[in-house]
Symmetry: none
Subunit: 226 residues, 2 copies
DNA sequence: CCGCAAGTTAAGCCTTGGCTAACTTGTGAT
DNA sequence: ATCACAAGTTAGCCAAGGCTTAACTTGCGG
């Protein structure tokens, strides 16, 4: 079945791909690899490859075969619109309707594709046109502007600071690999527990556990703080 | 694409068929004919026939070939649930979010398939568990009860009859707009003054003035008589 | 009892979105 | 410098969902 309101080939799935590409790109700042996309969306690389071709045909993405995808301006607009819907909905469902926070996400995941632009603006207005959701994530504006991620180096944080690990500068693959071996990946929330003097390591708590991180690593790891 | 939340084969389209069968049955109290259904949903009779078979396979309808469809208890539940969603949404969008009345219907038409039961209950609670929507349509309860409507088409009234204009069938937004431009809205009392022969218009007195109404309009306008 | 409208089946089309299997490409390690 | 291997791509396939037209049955009114 096509999308409820015919949006000219931009199905829910296409929107989800755009959203995924956007957020993967945001974390690594590079063209997004097919496998990362496939992984994120829990489909085979072949399927992701095919869908990416559809996005390209729709003018939403440009692709350099074997080197990754990037969103066009139009694709970015699609992604940001969906993200805006999602975040506004989460906020609204929790705040205005008292929905429990752990249910809010999946409800928004469905509704983000169903609400009209008009409704999303009414919701935004009711919320007082918020610019950030309760997690601290910025909410794109109706015309597709989004606050540039004000990420800092992990090394700049002080004990007690919390944030989201968003990327490694230059996406150093070796660092990424090293981190992932320890269960740390972009997107993870973290809290700095302690910092040793004399440029020593930081003790950082992730969902997956505590880690002592130091040296070049903490300078390369970029963190977004709410 | 399948329905967002997998509901075991009950796609949006299936829900729409159930809704259509329900409301056609409500008006005529007979098994619903394939052609009436096809007509209402703007598809070919063959398509309607095929879909009706699917409803039957899903246990939502029983069918006597060449003699019409009726919903089973399960089918009625599906229909009422969708109708409940629809009416709650209409009410909520207008009342809580200030959406204009003529846009509310189409927005609800999409969202009725997307909201979870939990969300619909939150909405109902926020509205104070209303039993009627602003068009005067009764809202089914969460467990599938609905007030038997004792409304008649305006076209069935005779001169001298009085009543209350309760709703427009299917809340046709264009008709609602047209009526409201003339100061006529659900809830208004009326009296039929005169009816012209040969299927001509009715002369109807409202608090706001007298109006000559005819054609499809008087068949869609539902009236409750004391 | 017959014809015609309503209903049904048959056959098929198209889209969406996924899969596996088999291929190409590009790269890092030797 | 080359070569193996991982990553990416293509080819070929499948199933579901919904719709269509064309050709058939049915059953009812005259």
């Amino acid at each position: 079945m096509a999308t409820a309101t015919d949006t000219g080939g931009i199905s829910d799935a296409v929107q989800d791909y755009a959203k995924a590409i956007y957020s993967l790109h945001e974390r690594s700042d590079d063209a997004v690899s097919t496998s990362a996309l496939a992984d994120r969306l829990a489909v085979s690389p072949a399927s992701a490859s095919a869908m990416v071709k559809r996005l390209e045909a729709l003018g939403l993405a440009t692709r350099r075969p074997y080197h990754g995808v990037e969103l066009t301006a139009a694709g970015t607009r699609v992604a940001l619109e969906v993200i805006r819907h999602h975040r506004l909905l989460e906020l609204y469902l929790a705040e205005a309707l008292g929905m429990s926070w752990d249910r809010v996400h999946e409800e928004a995941e469905v509704l983000e594709h169903a609400i009209s632009p008009e409704l999303s603006e009414l919701i935004a207005a009711k919320l007082g046109n918020p610019t950030h959701d309760p997690h601290g994530d910025p909410i794109p504006t109706a015309d597709g502007e989004i606050e540039k991620g004000s990420s800092r180096a992990l090394s700049e944080l002080e004990p007690g600071d919390r944030g989201v690990f968003v990327r490694v500068s230059d996406s150093d693959p070796e660092m990424l690999r090293w981190l992932s071996e320890r269960g740390i990946a972009p997107g993870d929330r973290l809290e700095v527990l302690e910092r040793q003097p004399f440029d020593g390591p930081l003790l950082v708590r992730f969902a997956s556990g505590d880690h002592a991180l130091g040296g070049a690593l903490v300078q390369m790891m970029r963190v977004e703080t709410a």
